[in-house]
Symmetry: C2
Subunit: 289 residues, 2 copies
């Protein structure tokens, strides 16, 4: 990816030992990912918009439909993904051939940085270059095998971490940007769209999360986090608004129980909206069903 | 700060030009902050829990009570704070004496990294060492003058950015940790408590944000993001739960209008809860009123 960006305004490659080793690692990553049909990255301009929740649930919907799915979770600061996909406490299996992912709900293969932490509470106070190196090394070591879909849950924002990962994934099909509906968030998320352009990654569409809350007693619809950011971004970037997801107590409840909402509450409004997002995604990728 | 941490397990100082220059910068930071009575950092284990919203509102409550207040906003990835405190579009004034903060609502002095971005949409794809250097330089250049309170809104998480800033602030009174109520978030936020211990920063207490939504039509209270993380963390860490803030559409609405909710909706439940948090904080700091 890095060769395609301009030398002045674009991002640079991370400080790796030498161009030679870097090329070798890059070749190894390419080989490791060679049997994966669709590579999609999920990003957001800011944290806490539910990026990991959306990723876990999209993976679960795809797996429910019979696709083979993997998730590469790059969130250093919390084990949310591992918890949601039911692999918390599992470890990665290292063999001479490489590192094998853990297997979560519905057979989803998961590599989470949470596996690399000594325990849930330890903060990752890693210095940048060390972290960048470790991430790229890890990418070059995972034995995914054959997969229909591999979802990359990038760290929030458009900083070093997200950059470093995104530019090391070869032939990405595209990116999904997750936002919440407030104007303030829209601004942050637009940066992700810009980030994709700079890295030559096609933007597939926008998912608006936490769009509204429907009172279960009286049916009142409250737009707690404002209105319209998803539509606004999609329009500005000329892409599709893939869907709007409600604020749903079941999402947090299922997550805390170690399951994505599409599995533990398949009839919920959230689950139905997620199914529709996957439909839109399969359309965009021209996947035959 | 960095001298107080152990060489093996603790964080390291950032890669600055030389120990000599580093000492000089550190002295300058100390001098710049010498007339500030209380320095408080606000942190969270993950993004999107409303850390900036809480910080802006605490600053506004303090300012309403007649204290002189400053906010140092370190969020690289979005201009939320600048927007909320009504300084978006303003710039920092650079003079031979140093850099002067912008002045927001109620005379709150604001230095936001958003001021350093060419426009709202540009992503900050800065490389770590460059960023660390720029941040420390900026810290050593701001002319805050005399203040009762300076709030540092750290970047989310316990990574390089937060570390780098926290260890460069001398004599911090303490830290407030912001969380949302779900178990998954609690785990991430506990890391912040751990982070404080490692940096020898006293943990003042926990603010639970987005605790519940009260339906404005029927009065139903929905715990959309789960329950109990704030209490759990406070108990585990032996500190006070400073307060629980409701999910409130007015918060996003006021923010989008460029005002903290305690100013634009001073009679709201949110505003009252924020006032109580400030009361608790003043108690903890033994500030005479």
């Amino acid at each position: 990816m890095s060769e395609q960006t301009s030398a002045d305004s674009g991002p640079r490659a991370p400080a790796l030992p030498s161009p030679h080793i870097q090329q070798e690692i890059s070749n190894r990553i390419q080989e490791r990912l060679s049997k994966i049909r669709h590579k999609i990255i999920v990003l957001s301009g800011k944290g806490g918009v539910g990026k990991s929740t959306v990723t876990a649930n999209l993976a679960a919907v795809l797996a429910k439909r019979g696709y083979s799915v993997g998730v590469f979770d790059y969130d250093f600061h919390g084990p949310a993904m591992a918890r949601m996909l039911g692999v918390l406490g599992q470890t990665l299996q290292a063999f001479p051939l490489g590192i094998f992912p853990a297997t979560g709900v519905l057979g989803i293969k998961v590599v989470s940085l949470a596996f690399l932490l000594p325990d849930e509470k330890t903060p990752v106070i890693w210095r940048g270059p060390l972290k960048a190196k470790a991430l790229v090394e890890l990418m070059s070591s995972v034995v995914w095998g054959e997969l229909d879909f591999l979802l990359f849950d990038l760290p929030p924002g458009t900083g070093d971490e997200a950059l470093n990962i995104a530019q090391n994934i070869p032939e990405v099909d595209g990116a999904i940007v997750v936002t919440i509906p407030s104007v303030v968030s829209a601004v942050a998320v637009e940066k992700s769209a810009e980030f994709c352009k700079q890295l030559n990654i096609p933007l597939l569409g926008v998912v608006e999360n936490m769009s509204y809350f429907k009172c279960p007693r009286c049916g009142l619809v409250a737009e707690i986090f404002g209105h319209g950011a998803g539509e606004k971004i999609a329009e500005e970037e000329g892409v599709r608004l893939l869907g709007r997801l409600p604020l749903d107590p079941d999402v947090a409840r299922c997550m805390d129980e170690g399951k994505p909402v599409v599995i533990c509450k398949p009839e919920s409004e959230s689950a139905r909206a997620l199914e529709e997002i996957v439909e839109a995604l399969l359309d965009l990728l021209s996947v035959s069903r």
